[in-house]
């Protein structure tokens, strides 16, 4: 605090005589810098609060005194213009009773007297003793300004944290949406070119990717919570049931895939494929039999075989196409469910954080209210 020694702030309501007191102090105490208005970041070594002796303080003036006393450690309150207001001792006593701190020293001054000599000595003596007391124990014993300042800092931090939370919520929701959208596009492309053998692997791949997306989201969320923890707010981790493991969020594949649902052979497909194979066999058999009448028996047998083979191929191809379409639907459903789950997770976590912060703010305010009256006395 040594760099601030010497700055004395003289403050008071309009027409209270603060300027006269400041001028008189400037003349009497050459070593100190006496100001009526602090520069940015400046902290006074002492504050002289000036109020007129015309009448006791009003509420706004008491608030000004409180504000002045909160910013420094040594405060002297002066009742000015005692040369013309004969009732100043009563006013002084009433002011002393009105002020929040009974330890505050009150003096009467006539800094720029219209009648009689100036009277400044009590103020200077009180100022010296306040400065000396402040040097001896550099802690404000008049007002709980430390906790006041701290609570103000905490308020500011809390406001910043609230804003960060809101931003994080928007960002994380957007991120979840984008992840799900890209995942769906990828998986649908894969599903469109899937072979029969790849279905199982594809299904487990979908589950793996969902789990990874959820894990990434969890990591981001826990980083956010850690950041808030650093700011002094204790936030519980909410375990949203049902979405820890992504597979639970996937709808059962069986509902979409006929193969896994104890395949009922699609009779129509079989019938049509058989008809197609028979038709092909008859047509080719007829044609070849006409061209080479000698080989009729062999040609008939070969055509029948080819027809049967063709029927089998059509049935298989038809089945694969149906399976791909089902997988496509399934992938859409899975990503939609994942998106909902992720968004819910973000919202729940942010809500938990906000609740914790609000609870902490309320507790802090109650605590500071409790502190105030007790801390007044040195």
């Amino acid at each position: 605090m040594s760099e601030h020694r010497g700055v004395i702030l003289v403050i008071g309501p309009a027409l209270s005589g603060a300027t006269s007191v400041a001028n008189a102090l400037r003349q009497r105490r050459g070593g100190c810098r006496v100001v009526e208005c602090l520069g940015p970041g400046e902290r006074p070594a002492a504050v002289v609060f000036v109020v007129s002796a015309a009448a006791p303080m009003t509420q706004s003036q008491i608030a000004l005194l409180d504000a002045a006393a909160a910013s420094t450690d040594a405060v002297v309150a002066a009742v000015a213009k005692i040369d013309v207001h004969r009732g100043w001792p009563q006013v002084l006593e009433e002011n002393r009773a009105l002020a929040a701190s009974p330890a505050l020293s009150w003096v009467g001054v006539a800094a720029d007297p219209h009648i009689g000599p100036s009277k400044l000595e009590p103020l200077i003596a009180a100022l010296d003793s306040a400065l000396a007391r402040d040097r001896r124990s550099p802690r404000n014993q008049l007002l709980p300004n430390k906790s006041h300042a701290q609570s103000r800092i905490r308020d500011r931090e809390r406001a910043v944290a609230f804003r960060e939370l809101r931003v994080a919520r928007v960002q994380l929701t957007g991120q979840a949406r984008a992840t799900c959208a890209s995942m769906r596009a990828d998986l649908r492309r894969d599903a469109a070119g899937l072979s029969r053998r790849g279905v199982d692997e594809f299904c487990s791949g979908v589950r793996r990717r969902s789990a990874r997306a959820v894990a990434e989201l969890d990591a981001t969320l826990s980083r956010l919570v850690d950041d808030l923890d650093i700011a002094g707010i204790d936030i519980p981790w909410i375990d949203t049931p049902g979405i820890d493991g992504a597979p639970e969020s996937c709808p059962a594949l069986e509902t979409y895939l006929p193969r896994f649902g104890r395949v009922r052979a699609d009779r129509v497909t079989a019938l049509l494929s058989a008809g197609f194979g028979l038709g092909v066999a008859l047509t080719f058999g007829r044609l070849l039999a006409d061209l080479a009448p000698d080989w009729t028996a062999a040609i008939t047998a070969a055509s029948l075989l080819a027809g049967i083979g063709l029927s089998g191929w059509v049935i298989r191809a038809r089945g694969l196409a149906a399976e791909r379409a089902a997988l496509d639907r399934w992938v859409t459903e899975v990503t939609a469910g994942l998106r909902t789950a992720m968004e819910e997770r973000v919202v729940m976590q942010v809500l938990a954080a906000e609740t914790a912060m609000a609870a902490e703010a309320t507790a802090g305010r109650n605590a500071s209210c409790r502190i105030r009256p007790g801390d007044d006395r040195p």
């Binding site: 309501p13 309009a14 027409l15 209270s16 007129s52 015309a54 009448a55 006791p56 009003t58 509420q59 706004s60 003036q61 013309v84 207001h85 004969r86 006013v91 009433e94 219209h114 009648i115």
Partner: protein, 346 residues
């Protein structure tokens, strides 16, 4: 005011109204304006109350509703005072008390206080006047008290050192520094008891405060007049009703309403701007427009009636609309009296 402000109205009413109705009308119109004193603690509200009572104002008892509030403050209006003044719902006059202690340099305390009041009035819109309540109370003191005071003041002028301590305290308590100074100077010049009382009365600024209270009470007087006339309308339907109806439609009532309405709009104009708005915004016919002036020319009355008719149709409050209509009607009566002739539209 030398006589009852509604003497003409009452004179006209005496011819047609029965005794009880006339009595009630007189009581309604003559009812004094009750003043309540509020303000900042320690600003001397009690002394202001005594000063107003001494100067003839009727103070509302505690708990009694008041017509006009006097808000007492000292030095300048703090933010608490401004907030309170912004929230008042009654006509209010702000009074800068302890004006005799404002400043002992330059033009003197009362002049400095008056300039400050003008600035505060400009800022708040509430009529604000300086007052040295102590001097006003001293001015309203009885003769015996004044005489012993004059003896003490002579001693102050001749040889202050010989003044007894008890007397010095009394002088300070009753006149304070400024009052003692001007009173001692006046007594040194040979002033007697009435001259001293007049000097203190003049220095205290109490008459300006009373004028301002009177001006602030103009809407109340106007409403009282309207209310009293409305109650008379009940009597206009009885067996003797024709005379009352004629009285209510007559010139005396129209001119009384016009006078009360002019007080209201004049007070509003001076509240907004004490210097010149009265003449520029609401008054096209010169200074005579804010008084009922029956000797104006025929054309002046007609112009005035048209002007106030327009005023009443403009963007003004309901009270001012009624006032404008009343002034216009009164001006038309004056125009008829001055020889105006009603012509049919061509």
């Amino acid at each position: 005011m030398p006589q009852h402000p509604h003497a003409a109205l009452l004179g006209a009413g005496a011819a047609v109204l029965d005794d009880s109705a006339l009595h009630r009308l007189t009581a309604d119109l003559g009812a004094p304006v009750r003043v309540a004193v509020t303000g900042r603690a320690g600003a001397g509200r009690g002394m202001v109350r005594r000063a107003l009572r001494g100067a003839g104002a009727l103070l509302a008892d505690p708990g009694e509703p008041s017509d006009v509030d006097v808000y007492v403050f000292v030095e300048t209006l703090t933010s608490d005072d401004v907030a309170l003044l912004a929230g008042v719902d009654r006509p209010t006059v702000a009074v800068l008390n302890k004006a005799d202690l404002t400043c002992f340099r330059g033009a003197g305390p009362v002049a400095v206080a008056a300039a400050r009041c003008q600035e505060l009035q400009r800022r708040t819109g509430v009529p604000t006047r300086p007052l040295a309540a102590l001097l006003a109370v001293a001015a309203s003191r009885d003769t015996a008290g004044q005489r012993s005071l004059i003896d003490a003041l002579r001693t102050v002028g001749a040889n202050p050192a010989r003044l007894a301590p008890g007397m010095r305290h009394r002088l300070l308590a009753e006149l304070d520094l400024f009052g003692t100074a001007i009173a001692a100077a006046a007594v040194g010049r040979g002033a007697d008891t009435p001259a001293l009382a007049a000097l203190l009365h003049q220095a205290s600024g109490i008459s300006a405060v009373l004028e301002e209270i009177d001006r602030a009470a103009a809407p109340i007087r106007y409403r009282r007049l309207i209310g009293a006339l409305a109650r008379l309308a009940d009597a206009a339907v009885g067996p003797r009703g024709a005379g009352v109806a004629e009285f209510l439609a007559g010139d005396a009532v129209a001119l009384a309403r016009m006078a009360a309405a002019l007080d209201v709009v004049g007070a509003a104009a001076t509240t907004v701007d004490p210097v010149g708005a009265a003449a520029t915004t609401v008054d096209p016919a010169g200074a005579a427009a804010t008084t009922v002036d029956p000797v104006g020319g025929c054309a002046t009355h007609l112009r005035r009636a048209v002007r106030w008719r327009h005023y009443a149709q403009g963007p003004v409050s309901a009270l001012h609309r009624r006032c404008g209509t009343d002034i216009s009607r009164g001006a038309l009566r004056l125009w008829l009296q001055a020889g105006g002739v009603v012509e049919a539209m061509p």
